[in-house]
Amino acid sequence: MDDLYRDYILDHYKRPRNFGELDPHDLEALEHNPLCGDELGVHIVVKDDRIEDLRFHGHGCAISQASASIASEELKGMTLDEVSELGADWMIDLLGIPVSATRRKCALLNLKVVRGAVTGDHAWPV
């Protein structure tokens, strides 16, 4: 089996969870990966300071799409404070595959978008 392109990664890539749009939504953000031109946006519905629902939209590689899909299932129900504390390691651990330095931004794009929507901080997660 391939180290990077494991079955569950390909499954999330081909059938991404929580993709689409949410209208109305409370928070949104759109980010680009300047390396490859990939684009990922998010719509978030907030209730009682928690993410009640969210949807990603955009296009990207298997790593970026699978990361967003996998993260989306964890992000639902988190408080906005919890989301703002999430760092790169959270995402990389959740993904569970060895991500090379050049693909790191692919894996982190979704967290950058979500944190941008929640905190207004558009820096890459560290």
Partner: protein
Amino acid sequence: MPPVAESTLGVRADFPILARSFDGRPLIYLDSGATSQKPQAVIDAVADHLAAHNSNVHRGVYPLAQEADAAFEGARAEIAAFVGADARTTVFTKNATEAINLVAYSWGDANLGAGDAVLITQMEHHANLVPWQMLCRRRGAELRYLEVDERGELSLDALDAELARGDVRLVAFAHVSNVLGTINPVAEMVSHIRAAGAVSLIDGAQAVPQMAVDVNEIGADFYAWTGHKALGPTGIGVLHGSPALLEQMEPFLTGGDMIASVDFQDVTWNELPWKFEAGTPPVAEAVGLAAAVRYLSALGMDRVREHEQALTEYMLDALATVPGLRAVGPPGTHGRGGLVSFTLEGIHPHDIAELCSRDGVCIRAGHHCAQPLMRCLGVGATARASVGVYNDCADIDVLVSALLGAREVFAL
């Protein structure tokens, strides 16, 4: 032309890096559109210069300085002659990007104003797009684009229509597109532009490494290219300009070496080409680039083009056997340089490149510094395989088998 399947220049052994392997797989380098690998002759020329002839230029009176001067100005003469240009109007820059910026600032700021337009094309690399965007923003001018048709080509009629509007002061365009591979009819475009009284600039970064280019024959006012894509070192670009325009223009960068005399309040500029070369120039890089053009001349640029055209034809045919693969750019190879950009249904270009690299194959994936063009093509990114003098058909075979393997990994 030799039978396509055998097309090779037999020079692979001249490029030491191609002896490398990754995880036991020999390096298959198909990213020459990004940068070329270097023959031993270039590596030796740079090393020999640094080991035996290094000194600053245009300053010293001692013999070593005279050697460095001779090496640097000799390199300029050789590099200029390689593309049919005069040494006096051949300016060294850091890269093609800086060469284009030089024109945008030095010519553009002095000659462009509100009501004027700059015309570029939808197939431009960011290097030949952003400097014009910035210039138009500074001067309140309009930036317009020539469309790329579904074959990946430009239309001379559309160019004429734009020129007929009467406000176009400069037209900038690629000789060979780094995404589509399109070889534009540059000499014809220049004659239309000249007839309309506008200035022309050609980005020749992709063209000079792969075909005979005669800038004098093409006749553009400015022609920019870069050393590292043409078997030379990084850190050196080349701008050929019309003597009349270069004479009129103010310098772009200022400092040492580009002045005739300086007092506390005033300065007079050095003569061409040194007026445009502020500070210590890329001396070892020029020596290396001269060795590169000597190497290419010995191969013969017509042979290089013939070889790369045959290889590209082989590649287009081979890629067509991969299910779900869509190649972009002009049909056939007559009007196409040595590259093919493509998408593979169900696999993002980044993943294609990653999986190819497992077989030792280096290809580029992404927007290729041409995001507006990507939007025209309706894709976010493509994968791109580009060939050089050292590639042969066996390299293409490995690429194709890697692509078929990628489809298997993705269970397609």
